[in-house]
């Protein structure tokens, strides 16, 4: 192609120090200014991260702003890009490039974040949440309120209800007595079993004495070296007595367990709530006859706490431990924040994620299983 130099002197390519226009001094000054500005912005970025000059979540924005400023310094002072009419092509090309970069990066981030839309919260890949771009070190995740089954109180023994202490809707502590069954027949049973135990123990003692003396007689006979029918008879007698003692011992054991069972029965006449919670349902009145084979529980106690299951990444799991406070909100219950404790942290199968269990008190029973929770665990 033939050179057509000078024809379009108004047309300039980027990066040019247009020779006729600029002197040596001007050129040096431009680059030096650019260098100083860029260095200052760089130092600013690094210092920003170290200190507390900017509120945590705002650090990212500040860094981005500083980066954009520094890129601008490069473009103007090093690449001599201006908006002068002779630079239009270059500036427009740059604008086109910036547009494409914005579309690719921004579009990709938007799309990738939404690709987890239909996936269970906390599962799936790369949780790009604008919240997590904040520079504080709290662990943020989403969780689900897990079902906690209400506790049924069933009758373990049969009998007649003598008293009922718990009403529906009442708050009970763990171990609180809710009802009592007539203990008297069960107590009589305990007494009977105790008598039987004493009898078997006496028998055992007697047989053991007999065995002891028979053994002693056998030893004396053997010590004299005698043989014959007398010795055999003595030996057989020892064996018989041994067997009897063994049988007595197992009798004693059986009697002991029978006694213990009878005592348990007595204990079970007191219907006790195993957990702290609220009585959901009461199905007994004093005077009712209840049987341990009945299907209906006497009471149903709903625990007063809720349990939230959340998933975090393995990296995040390093920042929390069991016992940490966790705060969460639930979309279905707006305007209320719940505070709980981390009860378990264990790696999920596959290793990439960690399951966190959080228990939080819920006296008003507003949290139902399946509700989505947004969890934040401030790092220590």
């Amino acid at each position: 192609m033939s050179e057509v130099d000078g024809r379009n002197a108004k047309d300039v390519a980027p990066g040019f120090m247009d020779a006729p226009g600029r002197s040596l001094r001007e050129g040096l000054l431009t680059y030096a200014t650019g260098f100083v500005l860029a260095a200052a912005l760089t130092v600013g970025s690094f210092v920003l991260v170290r200190t507390n000059l900017i509120w945590g979540p705002g650090i990212v924005m500040a860094l981005v702003a500083l980066a954009i400023a520094q890129i601008g310094v490069h473009l103007v002072f090093f690449l001599h890009l201006t908006t002068a009419p002779d630079n239009t092509n270059n500036a427009l090309a740059l604008a086109f490039g910036v547009l494409i970069v914005t579309l690719v990066v921004g579009g990709s981030l938007w799309i990738m974040a939404h690709l987890n839309h239909n996936v269970m919260p906390g599962h799936g890949l790369a949780q790009i949440d604008l919240e997590t771009l904040a520079a504080d070190s709290a662990v943020r995740t989403k969780g689900v309120v897990a079902p906690v089954a209400p506790e049924p109180l069933e009758a373990q023994v049969s009998g007649v209800i003598t008293s009922v202490q718990c009403e529906e809707g009442m708050h009970v502590e763990a171990g609180q007595v809710c009802a009592e069954i007539d203990a008297q027949p069960h107590q009589a049973e305990v007494d009977k079993k105790a008598d039987e135990l004493r009898a078997t123990e006496a028998r055992l003692e007697r047989d053991q004495r007999k065995l002891g003396s028979a053994r002693a007689a056998l030893e004396r006979k053997e010590a004299t070296g005698a043989r014959g029918k007398g010795v055999d008879r003595l030996r057989r007698s020892v064996e018989r007595l041994q067997a009897q003692v063994d049988g007595d011992e197992s009798d004693v054991q059986r009697a002991q367990s029978a006694l213990a069972a009878a005592k348990t029965q007595v204990g079970a006449t007191r219907i006790v709530s195993p957990i702290e919670g609220t009585i959901r349902a009461r199905n007994v009145e004093p005077g009712h006859k209840v049987s341990e084979k009945a299907k209906t529980p006497l009471f149903v106690v709903a625990p007063d706490s809720a349990h939230v299951d959340a998933t975090i990444s393995a990296a995040q799991s390093g920042r929390i431990s069991v016992g940490d406070t966790a705060v969460f909100t639930v979309d279905a219950v707006p305007g209320q924040a719940f505070s709980g404790t981390v009860t378990k942290i264990e790696p999920a199968q596959g290793g990439a994620e960690t399951i966190v269990g959080i228990a939080a008190p819920d006296p008003n029973h507003v949290l139902r299983p399946g509700m989505m929770a947004t969890v934040r665990i401030p790092a220590r």
Binding site: E3, V4, D5, G6, R7, N8, D11, V12, A13, P14, G15, F16, M17, R22, L24, G27, L28, T30, Y31, A32, G34, F35, A38, A39, T42, S45, F46, V49, I59, L63, L66, A67, I71, H74, L75, F78, L79, T88, N89, A93, L94, F96, G97, I100, V101, V104, V105, S108, L109, M112, A126, I128, L133, A135, S313, A314, A315, P347, G351, A352
Partner: protein, 220 residues
């Protein structure tokens, strides 16, 4: 140039088949004919650099998505050493400055100062590359290489791609310095301009890298 005269209609008005309503002789930019060779070369190289920036943006997008995919492995906070990043940044920024100085020297057609500035640029670039190579080899030796997790893959790829560009640039720089030494200025003039553009854009990309990968990545 050609002697063909401007065509007219029978009535003496210029023709306008596209009905643009303009009667002046030329519209828009570039109507003075093909641009000069140096403008063409520099503009073409500028377009190439923009395409390179788009390629980097794809790697940036991948890194943004994968920044938290650490697969139980180490995170940015545990791996990155801010002081080393600061030194690397300083080296690259200074080399960008000395590259600009070489452009000033080229404009003044001063071979000695051009070569001197280019040499300093190259040495600073080598320092940058050496620090980065040291960082990479250390991480790989500790078992925290790109095959450890997706986050590390994207880190090594993005920063490594930039480093590869710096390496190719240094190779190019060396070749040009040799050519300058043997042949002086001449056709190399345009390529020096292109190298300037290239080196400055590499520094621009580094600004984005140290902001997004190191400084923001440290906070995760």
């Amino acid at each position: 140039m050609t002697m063909i005269e401007a065509p007219t209609t029978a009535h003496g008005r210029p023709v306008d088949p596209y009905r643009l309503g303009r009667t002046d002789l030329a519209t828009g930019h570039g109507e003075a004919g093909p641009a000069s060779e140096r403008v063409i070369i520099a503009f073409g190289f500028w377009i190439f650099l923009l395409s390179d920036i788009v390629m980097f943006s794809a790697f940036f997008a991948a890194h943004a998505v994968l920044q938290t995919a650490t697969d139980n492995g180490p995170t940015g906070r545990e791996l990155f050493d801010p002081s080393r990043v600061a030194i690397e940044t300083g080296c690259l920024l200074a080399s960008s400055f000395t590259c600009g100085l070489s452009a000033v020297a080229t404009n003044a057609r001063n071979l000695f100062w051009t070569q001197a500035a280019l040499l300093v640029t190259g040495l600073l670039g080598l320092a940058f590359l050496g620090l980065e190579a040291h960082e990479f080899s250390g991480m790989i030796a500790n078992g925290v290489g790109p095959d450890r997790s997706a986050f590390l893959s994207s880190f090594f790829a993005l920063v490594g791609l930039h480093g590869a560009h710096v390496g190719v640039g240094l190779l190019w720089l060396g070749t040009m310095m040799a050519q300058l030494f043997v042949k002086g200025f001449g056709s190399i003039l345009y390529r020096l301009i292109c190298f300037n553009l290239f080196w400055h854009v590499l520094d621009i990309i580094w600004v984005a890298i140290f902001t997004v990968v190191y400084l923001i990545g440290e906070g995760r």
